[in-house]
């Protein structure tokens, strides 16, 4: 449980981290620059808005269809993978997922596991668990490698080291990689990382990867990547372990291309990534390469809670492109680390409450102006703003009749806030009272408080006008 407590996000701490982040000019300008770059790259891939809407509609439909049939598709996937010679494991929580992976690694006397990029492995804090078990888990995606080398967490789900400058990386490599001197040349820096990793790929007993799409009909695990490290992790070591969330399954191979086309375009503005791996099983007799043993770990970790609710289920449509973060004005201001969760930004605010509970995360859905940019770019049309509003409500109320309580339901309940909103509704449903308030507020406008909570942190106080519109319109009627 310890590892998960790292992800508790107290409201006060989030606000403090956010305040520090927004006053960090360097962080502000680097995130703004990086997000602008990604926004531009994505936009260039979607020149025709009508076509884009058609593609989004298809992708949304495929994801909804897959989720509607999730239980049977997962069983079909397990059956098919087993036929293909893949061992399938089910993990309800991070502890189970880590235990399964550690047991597999130990059964092969593993000293080193190389990892391709996997957000689910971040979510279950696999690296900590492996370290505790005495097994080295080395990230091989360049961004993940950098972040791991510096003892940090990813700040973005697609570009984990986006918060770092090349100078910071140069200093990090010079300090942490033996025999390396300081260089700001990006090519040289990549070369240093590659040299370290090449050797590790050859010596690792186990390779771990994530999964972008799991095809039930054929038992195929699809892996999208740009660096080739995913292919190395899944083909060079003798054992390949894939780990993914239960929501990643689709029924047919033909469901993959529409999702893939939107994933890469939405994420990095690429029409297709450099590598697209389709893995259907371990090395067969007579084949010259590939792992001798293959496993898939399917992780729930709170996804079933989202699945059980008709509206919240759409959270699981996500294909992890990160476009919602890139377009989020809040994420752009505070970066990924301020959120404190594996998944930052808008998708993090709607998925984290299921993974970690509302007690730990209720502040995250409030950290949005509901501007709607996330919902507008989401390639699978998750109604993110609606879900943010819903989770705000669930955090402040008991479960509605006929609805099962969410983990941490009502964790942000406050008698005072309830009273404020009940008072508000009492006044705004009583027109005479409302007009009387307007009359008083305008007559005593000189007495308007100079400090108005969060409003006056960056603004001058609001002051009522001399007469309300109600009064002015009433005067006209009489005239």
């Amino acid at each position: 449980m310890n590892a998960q407590q790292l992800q508790f996000v107290p409201a006060s701490e989030f606000k403090q981290r956010a305040a520090v982040a927004v006053s960090d000019a360097h962080l502000r300008s680097s995130f703004r620059g990086a997000m602008d770059f990604l926004i531009g790259k994505r936009a260039a891939q979607f020149p025709d808005p009508v076509l884009l809407e058609r593609q989004r509609g298809l992708a949304e439909h495929i994801r909804k269809y897959s989720l509607a049939r999730l239980p049977e598709l997962l069983e079909q996937l397990e059956r098919k993978l087993t036929e293909n010679g893949v061992h399938v494991h089910w993990a309800e929580n991070p502890e189970q997922a880590n235990r399964i992976i550690i047991d597999i690694a130990r059964s092969h006397s593993t000293k080193l596991m190389v990892k391709g990029k996997s957000m689910v492995s971040e979510e279950v804090e696999l690296n900590h668990a492996m370290a505790d078990a005495g097994i080295e888990a080395l990230e091989s995606d360049m961004g993940e490698y950098i972040v791991q080398l510096d003892g940090e967490k990813p700040s973005h789900i697609i570009m984990p080291a986006i918060h770092k400058t090349k100078q910071e990386i140069a200093r990090l490599f010079a300090a942490k990689v033996p025999g390396v001197s300081y260089t700001e040349s990006v090519d040289e820096l990549i070369g240093i990382g590659r040299a370290v990793l090449r050797e590790k790929f050859m010596t690792a007993e186990v390779g771990l990867s994530g999964v972008n799409f799991a095809v039930a009909e054929t038992g195929t695990l699809c892996l999208v990547e740009n660096e080739g490290n995913g292919r190395m992790c899944t083909t060079v070591p003798d054992v390949h372990i894939a780990i993914t969330g239960i929501e990643k399954v689709v029924e047919k191979l033909e469901h993959v291309p529409p999702l893939l086309g939107l994933l890469t375009r939405s994420a990095t503005g690429q029409a297709i990534t450099t590598y697209f791996n389709m893995i259907s099983g371990p090395r067969k007799p007579g084949e010259k390469d590939g792992p001798r043993e293959m496993h898939l770990v399917l992780v729930d970790n709170g996804r079933s809670q989202a699945y059980a609710d008709e509206q919240l289920r759409s959270t699981l449509q996500c294909i992890r492109c990160g476009a919602c973060m890139n377009h989020c004005p809040v994420y752009t201001r505070i970066g990924g680390h301020a959120y404190g969760t594996t998944y930052p930004g808008p998708i993090g605010a709607i998925i984290s409450p299921h993974l970690l509970g509302l007690a730990a995360t209720h502040v995250l859905p409030t950290a949005s102006s509901l501007c709607g940019a996330c919902g507008e770019v989401c390639p699978v049309r998750i109604p993110i703003p609606d879900l943010l509003v819903r989770l705000r409500g669930e955090a402040q109320h008991d479960a509605r009749p006929g609805h099962a309580p969410l983990l941490g339901q009502g964790a942000a309940k406050s008698g005072l806030v309830d009273a404020v909103w009940s008072g508000w509704a009492a006044m705004y449903t009583r027109p005479a009272l409302y007009r009387a308030f307007g009359w008083l507020a305008t007559r005593f406008r000189a007495l308007t408080p100079p400090l108005q909570s969060g409003w006056t942190v960056g603004r001058t106080p609001l002051k009522p006008a001399k007469r309300t519109l109600h009064e002015r319109m009433a005067a006209r009627r009489v005239r």
């Binding site: 606000k15 004005p329 709607g372 669930e394 603004r459 007469r467 319109m473």
Partner: protein, 260 residues
């Protein structure tokens, strides 16, 4: 977010309702009065139901559905005639047009009423352009203005397009594009109170982008954004200030310079 651009527009009516919004009522009533003047000049009689208060959006976005429903219900039946309901705020118009039907989805009778009302709700600039089909006559000196459109207005109502077209009728007015034009100003209702550091950072970036255009003023069809930006500018000690679109349109086109 919601479909825009394919709405069927009725003929110009003889009478309309005005839903003034709570922010305009208390903080910018002049913008409401200017909206009335613009409508009346087109020969349209404006009715202002005296029992109107607020569309319910603050409670809705804060996660208080019961209170939202109560306040929304008290507005739902204030517009009995089949006249258009004009809202000089894109986000409040969006609330009534797109969210009321969801709020009352569980009650067939109320849902039918909410849908009927939603069909008649128009943001002011949309109504002036598409229903009243105004032809504005520019009376002002050449001016360069910037435009900030509220996010709900942009994504739910297409307001940015309507306002640009309306301003295009004024030959003396040049509308400058600003950096990150479609980005939120950081208001977000109670977001501005709950997360002041983030909200203020967004507001500061927005006022800087607006001023960088060299515009004399900025316009907004939403009182919330306008108050957020104007009070941010005042705190920074900047002289630059924005104006509600209704007031700008009236002042630019009234023969007496909008002094009435």
């Amino acid at each position: 977010m919601e479909e825009t651009g394919n709405r069927h527009y009725p003929e110009k009516p003889a009478r309309v309702y005005l839903f003034g919004t709570c922010l305009i009522d208390l903080f910018c009533p002049e913008a409401g009065m200017d909206a009335v003047r613009l409508l009346e000049r087109e020969g349209i009689e404006v009715h202002f139901p005296a029992d109107q208060t607020c569309c319910g959006q603050p409670a809705h976005s804060s996660g208080f559905p019961e209170q939202t429903r109560a306040v929304a219900l008290s507005q739902l039946r204030l517009f009995p005639q089949a006249w258009p309901v004009i809202v000089p705020s894109g986000s409040c118009a969006g609330m009534m047009r797109h969210h009321y039907p969801k709020i009352f989805a569980d009650d067939p009778q109320l849902l039918a009423e909410a849908k009927a009302l939603a069909e008649r709700v128009f943001e002011l600039s949309e109504f002036l352009l598409e229903v009243a089909r105004v032809r504005l006559t520019d009376q002002g000196a050449p001016a360069r203005v910037a435009l900030h459109t509220s996010c709900a207005a942009r994504r739910e109502m297409g307001t940015h397009l309507h306002v640009r077209t309306l301003l295009g009728q004024l030959p003396g007015v040049e509308v400058a594009m600003h950096s990150h034009e479609s980005e939120c100003c950081g208001f977000g209702g109670t977001f501005s109170l709950k997360h002041p550091a983030i909200s203020s950072a967004m507001a500061s970036d927005k006022v800087e982008a607006l001023q960088e255009t060299g515009a004399q003023t900025f316009l907004s069809a939403d009182c919330g954004c306008m108050l957020n930006l104007n009070h941010t500018l005042q705190k920074r000690g900047d002289g630059f200030q924005g104006q509600h679109l209704a007031s700008f349109l009236w002042q630019r086109t009234a023969t007496d310079g909008g002094q009435s």
